[in-house]
């Protein structure tokens, strides 16, 4: 870097740094602060955590009541566990379906790869809300699937899929499948095929070569894809809200209801902070692999 750049550097660095600091990082600090407040019937609807008393002393009123409430009211525990379990199994199914898809694209001729990627990418950028709504058109009681099956005589009564856990699984898999395929493709595409040929020459069976070479080398893609499905799926709101019933209580819905239904902002903040702590591990793993992949 030439020294002449140096004074101008901060003109480039500061705008994005300050913007993200104010609008991305500081909000978490504020949420942390409000999670220690108590709900109050005023605007905004919570008590002050830090304030000056009339005799000009700085007063810190931290209340752990919200966190205690999260631990005692079983709704939150149930919702956290349900969200984690649903996201986990959806991620596994996405992986099982997405891996062969990515592998097939990586092994097709170079000229076809761009087209396949575009086909996978198109729904991935298409409105999320509208895709979930479109899926509802397929699985609802009088929807496309049931009409087709009834018409073919395969079933005599419509299958009940809407408002069940199965609907939530279908919604997550349908919505997040591209998130799994794309990073998997990126690692599988870079795979050195001479390694597989060498294994083949040395007498290794294709299945064996896959387990010994392809799978370990594609592990960064497996992890990146899984995190890209798992993390947002845990916090999913639209899918359980539109496809699930009252039993499909996911943490995103609880947070939403706490804000818009109960107007209890301090409890909502505590839910968000607890949720973030829960996701800190997966997000750190994702960041680690992501940075490594960028630098590779």
């Amino acid at each position: 870097m030439k020294p002449t750049w140096r004074p101008g550097r901060w003109l480039i660095i500061l705008p994005p740094l300050l913007f993200l600091l104010i609008f991305f990082l500081i909000p978490f600090a504020i949420a942390l602060k409000i999670s220690f407040a108590e709900a109050a019937p005023r605007v905004p609807p919570f008590t002050d955590v830090i304030y000056f008393t009339p005799d000009h002393h700085l007063h810190l009123a931290l209340s752990l009541a919200n966190y205690r409430y999260l631990l005692t009211d079983e709704v939150y525990g149930v919702a956290y566990l349900y969200s984690l379990r649903t996201a986990f199994f959806s991620t596994l199914i996405c992986l099982a379906l997405g891996y062969p898809m990515a592998y097939a694209i990586a092994r097709s001729p170079k000229s076809m790869q761009g087209l396949w990627l575009l086909i996978i990418m198109l729904p991935f950028w298409t409105s999320f809300l509208l895709r979930v709504y479109a899926l509802e058109g397929i699985i609802r009681d009088n929807g496309f699937l049931n009409s087709a099956l009834l018409h073919l005589g395969l079933i005599s009564h419509p299958l009940r899929i809407m408002r069940t856990t199965l609907a939530v699984y279908l919604g997550i898999i349908y919505s997040y499948l591209p998130f799994m395929v794309l990073p998997l493709f990126a690692t599988l595409e870079k795979l050195d095929h001479t390694l597989l040929e060498a294994a083949n020459d040395l007498g290794s069976r294709p299945a064996r070569a896959f387990l010994d070479i392809t799978l370990p080398l594609s592990l960064p893609g497996v992890i990146a894809g899984s995190m890209l499905v798992f993390i947002p799926a845990v916090g999913e709101f639209v899918i359980p809200s539109l496809l699930g019933g009252p039993n499909q209580l996911m943490i995103g819905r609880v947070l939403w209801d706490e804000f818009f239904g109960n107007h209890d902002w301090p409890v909502a903040s505590a839910v968000a902070i607890a949720f973030l702590l829960l996701l800190a591990g997966p997000i750190a793993i994702y960041q680690y692999y992501n940075v490594r992949q960028i630098e590779a």
Partner: protein
């Protein structure tokens, strides 16, 4: 590397790929088909009709929300492109500066942060700012600010990969010939990364147009974006005009994405895509 044209995809793999693609596209195709159904009942085919499309034009609520969403999307995409490109330049060109790690983290974290968390925390920020400095009023401004926040991440990741592959030697040659570093960057490197900037603007535009959760949190009472109106309509049950609207949006987004893909493809196709996808 083996020759690409020689490779064969095993039939089993290909059938899983086709199955997955069918899964991705079937609901959208059925939705578009329903939008031309003359009957308002979902399980009855009442013949071909474009009546639902005609009704859209007279729905003031949808039109207003659509206009707000378009304004938000244009503003957010433009703001994010400026900030995201600056961040990408900083991360690629400046090897060491205080806050580099912080910037890297803040650029990547929004990509995976659940929307409900971003929405909650940003609402709390805006409410606190309102108390302190009486700005911003909840509505258009807060929606744009929060959309810029998550869109910036996509711009940075896209432009970053493009910038990394750009050849520095041309820029150095220009500087040896007496151009200032800024001028060398603008005349040589900017045209190279321009397709990435344009395509990330289009991607931000569609992301912003699509956002429901974050907008719902930060919008406040008065303002409703298009996804917010659609969500409340869908929540109440099936409405055939939503089918028509959804089909229109899906087609418009499809055109945007194919346009963005084409722009990227025209210059440096494979490399840029691969890195961008890997980082998504």
């Amino acid at each position: 590397m083996t020759d690409g044209s020689e490779r064969r995809v095993p039939p089993l793999l290909l059938s899983v790929l086709l199955f997955g693609v069918a899964l991705l596209y079937l609901p959208i195709l059925v939705l578009i088909a329903y939008s031309f159904n003359a009957s308002p009942l979902v399980n009855v085919w009442g013949g071909f009709s474009t009546a639902w499309y005609g009704q859209l034009i007279h729905n003031r609520q949808l039109l207003q929300a659509g206009l707000l969403s378009l304004q938000v999307a244009v503003s957010a995409a433009s703001g994010a492109v400026v900030l995201g490109t600056l961040a990408a330049i900083a991360l690629v060109r400046f090897a060491r500066f205080p806050g580099r790690l912080l910037l890297t983290g803040m650029v990547n974290a929004p990509l995976v942060m659940p929307e409900v968390i971003t929405g909650t925390t940003q609402l709390l920020l805006f409410v606190s700012m309102m108390q302190l400095i009486a700005w911003p009023h909840r509505g258009f401004t807060t929606i744009v600010l929060s959309h810029i926040t998550f869109c910036t991440a996509y711009v940075t990741v896209t432009v970053q990969s493009r910038l990394q592959s750009a050849d520095r030697s041309l820029e150095e040659a220009a500087m040896d010939l007496g151009a200032s570093p800024a001028r060398a960057f603008i005349e040589i490197t900017l045209p190279i990364i321009a397709p990435a900037i344009v395509s990330s603007w289009l991607l931000c535009f569609t992301l912003s147009l699509d956002d429901l959760v974050i907008s719902s949190f930060v919008a406040g009472p008065g303002a409703s974006t298009l996804p917010m109106v659609i969500y409340s309509k869908v929540k109440l049950g099936v409405s055939p005009d939503v089918n028509a609207l959804a089909s229109l949006i899906v087609c418009a987004v499809g055109v945007c994405i194919i346009g963005a893909g084409w722009l990227m493809a025209r210059s440096d196709r494979r490399r840029a895509l691969e890195v961008q996808l890997a980082n998504r």
